[in-house]
């Protein structure tokens, strides 16, 4: 009887183990097989923040929306032919690199600023810059402040977990000014604190500031985003080092979006370009040559991406509220978004 009880406990333990192993998935090793893994799995596992309006935030129906989310969709469309075959993994800022390094996600579009140490020390690579951002200050008009250099003595609401605390500190000590930090862990609290006058200044990337300002409707007219950008924050997709082919795929998926905008190809009119005589367009859309095959994709992957996700301009218009495109326009319209030739 004693043995049978022990046996029972063992069985229980074993069944618990079995249940837990149902969760544990053998992830792709950090080799050049990410694409194969994605194809055999049938979904792209994409790491996003999930709490960042305009970049990745679920809407009322639980559908992920934002530029980050659409970048994921574009990669899924390029590799699997279906933009909806994305499996989202939500990652807090301090978890996102571990998740990519350990193979929990295939690619990361999670508000990550491209920095040198992230490439040199963390074993990561940045295939593309899909958003040129910079940390800025927002104040209320009533304060009469026109420059960040007039902020001596202000109290400043900021978020913990990223680099914004350090940036503010560096900026103020470089300019010999003092401030009172109000460091909060969530955007919701920080925005509420700013609205309630808990702090004079709210600082975060200018894109988020603009979105917040727009959200307030007429009341938003009382806010001013100060002209200084304390940092350059090029936001990029991130992949593991050691899989060059996968790096190429993520990079050229982004260039597909940009190139489509430059050529004026949109999700709505892509079919009408199929009988184009222009060799650039014929190569780009896969009617001529073997460009897709060189990446291990189908030749018409660009067409799939554009018809399902749209071009970069469409992605922008769909997701970004109240931000002037500025640097983020394509180069033909004076911005920094540039696509190398598809040939």
């Amino acid at each position: 009887m004693k043995h049978s009880t022990l046996l029972g406990i063992c069985t229980l333990a074993a069944s618990m183990l079995a249940a837990s192993s149902a969760f544990a998935q053998d992830a792709s090793p950090a080799s050049s097989r990410t694409l194969e893994t994605v194809k055999s799995r049938g979904t792209l596992i994409c790491g996003v923040i999930g709490t960042s309006p305009g970049f990745s935030l679920p809407d009322s129906q639980g559908v992920m929306r934002g530029i980050d989310a659409d970048q994921c969709r574009a990669v899924a469309a390029a590799t699997l032919g279906d933009a909806e075959k994305v499996q989202w993994v939500l990652l807090a800022p301090q978890q996102r690199f571990t998740a990519l390094q350990s193979g929990e996600v295939d690619v990361l579009f999670a508000n990550v600023t491209w920095t040198m140490t992230r490439e040199s020390q963390l074993g990561l690579q940045f295939p593309s810059i899909y958003y040129y951002d910079g940390q800025a200050f927002m104040v209320k008009k009533a304060l009469g402040v026109n420059s960040a250099l007039e902020l001596d003595g202000a109290s400043i609401c900021m978020l913990t977990g990223g680099t914004s605390e350090l940036t503010v500190q560096e900026y103020f000590s470089a300019n010999n000014m003092t401030y009172t930090p109000v460091v909060l862990s969530e955007g919701e609290e920080a925005r509420a604190a700013f609205l309630a006058d808990r702090c004079d200044v709210y600082t975060i990337d200018s894109s988020s500031l603009a979105g917040f300002k727009a959200s307030q409707g007429e009341a938003g007219e009382d806010f001013v985003i100060l002209p200084e950008r304390m940092t350059a924050e090029p936001l990029g997709g991130v992949v593991r080092k050691g899989d060059e082919r996968w790096f190429d795929i993520v990079r050229w998926t982004h260039y597909t979006l940009v190139n489509a905008e430059i050529l004026g190809i949109e999700s709505g009119n892509v079919e009408s370009f199929m009988d184009s005589e222009d060799p650039r367009i014929r190569r780009f859309l896969g009617m001529e040559g073997e460009l897709g095959a060189t990446l291990g994709l189908s030749n018409d992957f660009s067409k799939t991406v554009i018809s399902q996700v749209g071009n970069f301009g469409e992605v922008w218009a769909r997701n970004v509220v109240g931000v002037d495109r500025g640097y983020n326009n394509v180069w033909t319209k004076g911005g920094l978004q540039y696509a190398p030739p598809f040939r």
Partner: protein, 391 residues
């Protein structure tokens, strides 16, 4: 009685002992093997991901601003170690204030729940149920939102000239010691120590008559006149530092930030509901005869409660109260949700800055284990002092 069973088994004790020994050896081996495997994998992973190990980072300067600290902290100059120390002090501050506030409020509410006034008892009952059944994290966020609704500094509520309440916190005047810093504080601490020693000696050796006399006047004298005398004799002069509105905010004086207030209010209210239940159970645990006896002696209700019932209830109250205090200490780690830089919040930033999660979590665990053990020890000592002495 289970040792008796051992002797029953004496005939096969040798075999059983041997088996138990083998089992223990196997267990130890298993644990060692598991630990070795985990440590080995972890080190391999850390190497593969280029994360450094060790505590060397503690002595590197950190560039993070800290919103609230008892010690001077200059980002970029002071080290991680100092930031951690500030975090621990902040955790202790919050825990201490909340423990005191929750005990006072909880006791009053617990007693009020037993009031003959139907409305009062019911309202307190509803309060306890409402507070106990909603997550404390949600309550903290709620209180922070509430405090933000206070007027801004320009429209601050002026309680008296020099004391202002706004959504930037409570701003109050302080005294600045022009010279001889720390002397008054030292004298105050000395006074406290002497007072505690005197109370202890009285309780230990004093006569019954002495024990029944209150020490309050003598205590106030010791704590107030002592420092004042020291100040006067040492020639220290103090000047008041009164806050005034200048530029963006109040300048001068000292302030209690709304982040700290929200944390203290939220945690105190949450804990007070549990303390109230503990106190109520303690009072109900005192036999009814005690009430009746006191009443027949002509004691008023307040007197009965203070002199007869509460002292006896204390024996029932102290053990659960100890675990409530431990709970409060641990709940203070939720500070990160309302932006108060406690130990966990600071370690959290540290982890995302250095990537050294293992060390960071080890620091949190060590600090909290130490605090928990200290609180337990203190409360056990107190419990022994109120325990029923059976003669």
């Amino acid at each position: 009685m289970r040792s008796a069973s051992k002797s029953n088994r004496r005939p096969i004790a040798g075999a059983a002992d041997l088996r138990s020994l083998a089992l223990q050896a196997a267990l130890v081996l298993g644990i060692v093997a598991l630990a070795w495997f985990l440590i080995d994998t972890t080190l391999a992973n850390l190497r593969a991901r280029g994360i450094t190990t060790g505590f060397a980072f503690l002595f590197r300067p950190i560039n993070m601003p800290i919103a609230h600290s008892w010690l001077e902290f200059v980002p970029g100059i002071h080290t991680y170690a100092r930031a951690l120390l500030i975090g621990i002090l902040n955790t202790l501050t919050v825990s201490f204030i909340v423990i005191v506030a929750a005990t006072v409020a909880g006791t009053l509410i617990g007693i009020a729940r037993l009031s003959p006034n139907w409305l009062l008892a019911r309202v307190c009952g509803a309060y306890v149920e409402m507070i106990r059944n909603v997550p404390v994290l949600l309550q903290l966020v709620f209180w922070y939102q509430m405090l933000l609704q206070l007027p801004s500094p320009r429209n601050a509520i002026t309680v008296v000239e020099g004391l202002y309440i706004s959504n930037r916190g409570i701003r109050y005047p302080t005294l600045i010691e022009a010279q001889g810093g720390g002397l008054a504080l030292g004298a105050f601490a000395l006074g406290c120590a002497v007072l505690v020693a005197l109370v202890y000696l009285r309780n230990r050796f004093g006569s019954e008559r002495l024990k029944s006399r209150s020490f309050l006047p003598a205590g106030v004298l010791l704590l107030a006149i002592g420092p004042a005398a020291v100040l006067y004799l040492s020639g220290t002069r103090i000047s008041p530092d009164v806050p005034e509105l200048r530029g963006f905010n109040f300048v001068g004086g000292s302030s209690l930030a709304p982040e700290l207030s929200a944390l203290v209010i939220g945690l105190s209210i949450y804990a007070s509901a549990f303390v109230a239940e503990i106190v109520r159970a303690g009072i109900l645990g005192v036999p009814k005869g005690q009430w009746e006896a006191a009443e027949s002696l002509g004691l008023s209700r307040v007197k009965t409660l203070r002199k007869i019932v509460l002292p006896q209830a204390l024996r029932i109250i102290v053990p659960p109260l100890t675990s409530e205090y431990l709970g409060i200490t641990k709940n203070s780690s939720l500070a990160v949700a309302v932006g108060y830089p406690d130990l966990v919040a600071i370690v959290n930033t540290m982890i995302s800055d250095t990537g050294q999660a293992v060390e960071g979590i080890a620091i949190i665990m060590a600090a909290f284990l130490t605090i928990s053990l200290a609180v337990s020890a203190l409360m056990n000592w107190y419990n022994r002092s109120v325990a029923l002495v059976t003669r």
